[in-house]
Structure formats: C-alpha cells, structure tokens
C-alpha cells in the first residue's frame, strides 16, 4: 500500500511541477529579461513587475502543491527513489509541455539532452 502511495505522490509531484514550470516560463517571458530590467529600474520595481503577473502567481501555487506533495512522498518512500523518479519524469514531461504549450523549438538536440538527463537521474537511484 505504501508503494502505491509513494508512486501516487511521485505522479502528483510530476504533474504539479510540469504545470508550475510551464506557467513560470510563460510569466517570465512576458516580464522580459530581468538583467536588462534591473539596469533600468530598482530591484523592488522588478520584483513588483514579476509578482503582479497572473501566470507567475498561478505558477507559484502549482509549485507549492508540488513542494508539499514532495514532502509527503519523501516521508513515505526513500529519497533515492522519490527525488530522482519525480525529477526524471519531470524532465520528459517538461520537454513535451514546452513544445505543446510554450511553442519552444524542442529540436533533436534538446530531446536527446532531456532523455539523457532523465536516464541519468534514474540511474542515480540505483
């Protein structure tokens, strides 16, 4: 039973963090290059600009859901399973989600990189 709980938590973490990553990436593309903005305005103004973006707030909500489900998962299963499994599945999920929702050019180089990192992270659990 605890096995099913652990994998349930992992899947929940993956779903929530892919959603959060896509929302945050969209928000920060709308905000623009933070380095450039900092050169023209104060840190507080940049922070206000970032935090007033609705996608950013939704992304933070999704990331907090992912964070708390990760805490649940870590208390049920081994770190060496929960952390790498959720991370490697998130890599593959993000590559697909970035292509679908953000229209990023996920070329062969990036697919291979995402797959290699996902495999590598899974091996770390061994």
């Amino acid at each position: 039973m605890s096995h099913a709980y652990t994998w349930g938590a992992i899947l929940f973490v993956v779903l929530a963090s892919v959603t959060g990553d896509v929302l945050l990436a969209r928000a920060m593309k709308q905000v623009g290059d933070v380095g450039e903005l900092r050169r023209r305005s104060s840190l507080l103004a940049v922070l206000a600009r970032v935090l007033s973006n609705p996608w950013c707030l939704l992304g933070i909500v999704a990331m907090s859901v992912a964070f708390f489900s990760l805490l649940f998962g870590l208390s049920w299963g081994d770190v060496s399973l929960v952390a790498p499994a959720s991370a490697s599945l998130t890599f593959v999920g993000n590559a697909a989600a970035a292509k679908l929702f953000l229209h990023e050019r996920v070329d062969r180089r990036r697919w291979i990189a995402a797959a290699l990192v996902a495999c590598g992270v899974a091996f770390l659990a061994g």
Partner: protein
C-alpha cells in the same frame, strides 16, 4: 589601474562598463540554480527523515515540519533557487534551463562521495556521466527560441548538423 574615463559612463558602452561579459553572468545564474536546488533538497530530506512518516489522516503534522531547523534552512535555499530560476527563465527557454541546471545532481553525488564519504556505485557513475553528456549537449546550443527566424535554416539545426559530423 588608471581612473575610469568619464566618457565611459555616458557613451554607448554601458555593457562594457560592467566589466563581466554577459554570458558569464548567465552561467553564474545557471550555476546558482543548480547549487541552491541540490543543497536545498538535501537539507529538506534530512529534515523530513527526522520528522518520520507523515500520514494522510493527520496532514496538520506537515505544518509542524516547517518548524524543523533543517526544513527552515532548506526552504531558504529553495527561495534562492526560485529567484535564480525565475531569472534564468526570463532570458532562456524552459527546455534549455532544466537540462543545463541538472549538473546539480552531479555536484550532489560528488559531495556525497568526497565530503560525506558515501558509497557511490558504478550505476551512479553511469548516471552522472549521462547527465554530464546531456548538460554539455544543451549548453552548447542556443538558449532561446527566436520567434521570427532571420535565416531560413535555424541556428539550432546548423549546430546539430555540425555536431553530427
């Protein structure tokens, strides 16, 4: 060593006056993402091991977890991760930032081996090698998808063709 030329401030070379090339600053932000994430995660896992299992019928014990000093430190590191991660996402694609910062897993394994004297198995070294290859593959490519391609052949495909030779 000489005094900075007054014209440097008002001329069209504000970027040069920073002294550090922009690409170096960007790699610094990516390194920050990797470091904050890996250290933050290990602090959290240490804290949660002290807490013991959290049961679904008593989710309020999760609130108690936030009082554990390891968890507090872990959350501080994850805030640092969040700031550098958002900065990176403001100028780079999601599919660039994620593999590029996964070098943190390699760092974590090296810390485990040389600082914590943990046993790092052959399978883990294989995993570290795969991650390193993935990171170098994506770090050598373009960081941002350009919405309007100026050249008929995108830069990324040119680079991919070059690496296949």
């Amino acid at each position: 060593m000489g005094p900075r030329k007054a014209g440097g401030f008002h001329g069209g070379c504000s970027r040069e006056s920073l002294g550090i090339p922009v690409t170096f600053r960007k790699y610094l932000v990516l390194a920050g993402v990797a470091l904050f994430a890996s250290i933050g995660d290990s602090l959290l896992s240490r804290g949660m091991k002290e807490m013991g299992a959290v049961s679904l019928s008593h989710p309020q014990s999760l609130i108690l977890a936030v009082l554990n000093p390891w968890i507090i430190l872990g959350i501080l590191f994850l805030l640092g991760f969040f700031a550098s991660y958002m900065t990176a996402l403001s100028w780079a694609d999601l599919t660039y930032v994620l593999p590029a910062t996964s070098i943190g897993y390699v760092l974590l394994a090296l810390i485990a081996k040389f600082l914590l004297h943990e046993q790092v198995t052959l399978l883990r070294w294989v995993g570290i090698l795969l991650i390193a290859v993935g990171v170098s593959l994506v770090a050598g490519g373009p960081e941002l998808t350009h919405r309007q391609a100026e050249s008929p052949i995108p830069e990324s495909e040119l680079a991919a063709a070059r690496s296949e030779q």
